[in-house]
Amino acid sequence: MIEFSNIFEMIIAAVFVSNIILSFYLGIDHQLFIEKKHTMINKRVLVILIVLPLSSMISFVIQQSLLIEIDALGEIVRDLTYFRTITFIVVIILVNYIILGLLSKFFSNQFKNLQNDFKGVLPSTIVLGSVIVITSSVTTLLESVLLSLVVVFGYAFVLNILKFIENQLEMKVVPKSFQGLPLQLIILSIMALIFSGFGG
């Protein structure tokens, strides 16, 4: 749950206090972490930026209209929330493949490189996890779109800082068993410690 009451608090909450990667531990993707270049990461972030708002919008509508039904007195008539994970998975896969199909039909030359990124997003926890977090924190459709944009921004922010730090390091002197992913996870945990200080 990301708690907020206006758009300013939403930005602070989604980027710093409850960052998707630092406080929900989502999107820690091995394939993304071994990549050294900023451009590759930003390409992946671009794909998430296309997929996530659409998926969270559709998932939010489905959750409000099909999974939970509230009568005029405000009592819950039907509660199928336990069904949401499988529903959202189906929504995300459909959105992903529809976008991929449209792009490869109309812009086949430019988006040929992005195909692997679209497929790489599916097994990652970032999209599904974010959709569950977003749909459980928002109350209107507009909020779900805005929040998903801010969440992606927070994700890109943390990943770029992480890569920047990693490029400064001299990997030769780091002990062999800590090179690469272990050291990145340690740096991430330190950043999670720091960002916890912004609470309140």
């Binding site: 730090i165 780091v174 330190i190 200080g197 912004f198």
Partner: protein, 305 residues
Amino acid sequence: MQNQNILKAQNPRVNIKNITISTILLSVLLVIGSLVYTPYVLLMGLVAIVSGVAVEYVFVKVRKQPYAFNAGALDTPLLIVLLMPPQLPLYMVIVGTVFGVFFGKMIFGGLGRNIFHPAMMAYLFLLVTFPIAVGANFIDPINGNIVESINLTDATFFGTSEQFFNLLLGRYPNSIGSTFVLGVWVVGAVLLFLRAVDWKIPLTILLTTALATAILGNYYPGQFSDGFVALFQGQLLFISLFVATDPVTAPRTTKARIYYGIGIALITVIIRGLANASEGIVYAVIIMNAVGPMFEPVEQIEKGE
């Protein structure tokens, strides 16, 4: 001589002479702390140094490399102890030092390679793990009572000149190193006079803190301290002199150092006044450790100069 050669091969950025000067001054502050509080403070320092050196020695020996003892091994444990409240249990000192030296320094390749300051990491780790013992267990130096928090935001509390002199002479609760404020100023002046650290970073931090506290204090009355008094409260002075100036974790060009100082001061003031964390400068220093090198020109980073 052999020690010197090993060190030179390992750390291009570190000046051992400056670290030795700051280590001697830190131990002076530890002795002052033991006079203000109890001699137990000296025991804490000893335990921290022994555990810190032990971690470094074991780490290097497990990797089958030559071990070169230097002042850098004493610097971090002393800083950690000086940031703690007095009468912290000894096992917490050991846990903090081991975490700071291992995860803050040795994993990145030892002295001169770390990204985040190890003492700040140890302090942050202890603050999260033992929030009451570290963050809310200060001792009044006059009567020995336990005080829950340091006063960081109340300007009227230090209103009269008598109270202000009491603050300077260390009669208000604070961490070991920062209690005797006058001593920190004198030791800091010696440190700057010997040119062991760059004077630009502390100056920028202190000026920006005073300005930002005064300006924000106008908009949010009651939540911020007075601009001048804020310089003497909490651990701001101690950390800006001894931790923020660390040549390994701070940026290298003058322009980047000024941005670094401004960033630290702004984050400190905001966390002090608006968030619920106790002392913001710890978070501020680590955040700027991560972000600071971005202000430098790209060639500078690649050369490592």
